[in-house]
Symmetry: C2
Subunit: 202 residues, 2 copies
């Protein structure tokens, strides 16, 4: 398997530890409020810091970017916004296969799958969570993919690829369609990889 | 557009009318209970008739098959289980395009879209609705598609096609990703049709 098939997980930013855990809880609670009220695009690190009563620089130091804090807040089990742009840097000829393998293999890990299913269910099923997920994907994932694809229809290409990957995760792990739960990762990569490849680069 | 692009909607079975509307409501309530308790596969028309206190033959007369009654009970805005097998009978060379067009055009109608979004949200987001949707699709749609495809991997092919179509509907109508809401039906058929085609018949 090529070395970029599964990117090394990024080290989590430092968190307040020990006696500071109260600060961490306040920050996460503040982030839930801010994201919930203002959406992903409207929320700011400054606003979250103010709600939590902490310094904005400290917030960045502990939690990184807004995307990092959002991922932490919703308990995201993987970071497609970080990892998929990295995958796009590898060779073009098996790009689709590489992305599909990265996602499917991550979801083979029970903890990733459990949290992933929860987020997928909420993102589709919950009227408040849907725009948050949509804005996050748009801002942090599709824009980056589109910048790398560098074609006029790049945003559409990225969205179509995402529609297939999310559809596959839903069908295999939420609906658990028997034919998809029975298939191996390799088989699914062989079938779905070319789809994602075609959307992104044909 | 070829004549089978959008199948003529099947005439709804007769319903109890006027003074019999109480019977109709009792039957739907009984169906909700039976499907909810026993799942799609476990529910029977006989069981629903018994719960509603009506004759089983009468139930079939008014509501048709179990699939018909299920569709009526959940307020299904379209009948892929009836229409997609019909689409499979047309010429093989634009099968994928035809199926994608049929679904996307149906969802352009506001009433279909509204109910479709509701069902999609519930099917993914609601722990009780998910297995019902999954069993219905498996029993009434995939099995029929697989029978027509007549290849050993037919069930996997049908499930992959469904994963892309449902993923597209989710991305366009639930998440409302801007690149997908901006795209025309024709453009999406041109991009996604070949995917569904490849899954079903390559």
């Amino acid at each position: 398997m090529p070395e970029y098939a599964v990117p090394t997980p990024k080290r989590r930013r430092g968190r307040p530890r020990g006696g500071e855990s109260g600060a961490r809880e306040r920050i996460i609670a503040a982030a839930v409020e801010e994201f919930g009220e203002l959406g992903y695009d409207g929320a700011t690190m400054r606003g979250i810091a103010a709600r939590a009563g902490v310094d904005a620089a400290l917030l960045h130091h502990y939690f990184g970017t807004k995307a990092d804090l959002f991922a932490e807040t919703v308990g995201a089990p993987m970071r497609p916004d970080v990892d998929i742009p990295t995958l796009l840097e590898g060779p073009a000829d098996d790009l689709g296969e590489r992305i599909v393998r990265y996602v499917l293999e991550a979801w083979e890990r029970p903890e990733t799958r459990k949290r992933g299913v929860l987020l997928l269910r909420a993102g589709i099923g919950n009227r408040l969570a849907t725009p948050l997920l949509s804005e996050f994907l748009q801002r942090e994932l599709f824009t980056r993919i589109a910048a790398r694809l560098d074609t006029p229809d790049a945003a559409l290409r990225a969205a179509l690829a995402a529609s297939q990957i999310a559809g596959l995760l839903n069908a295999r792990h939420v609906l658990q369609l028997p034919a998809l739960t029975a298939a191996s990762v390799d088989e699914l990569v062989a079938r779905v990889g070319p789809t994602v490849h075609r959307y992104l680069s044909d």
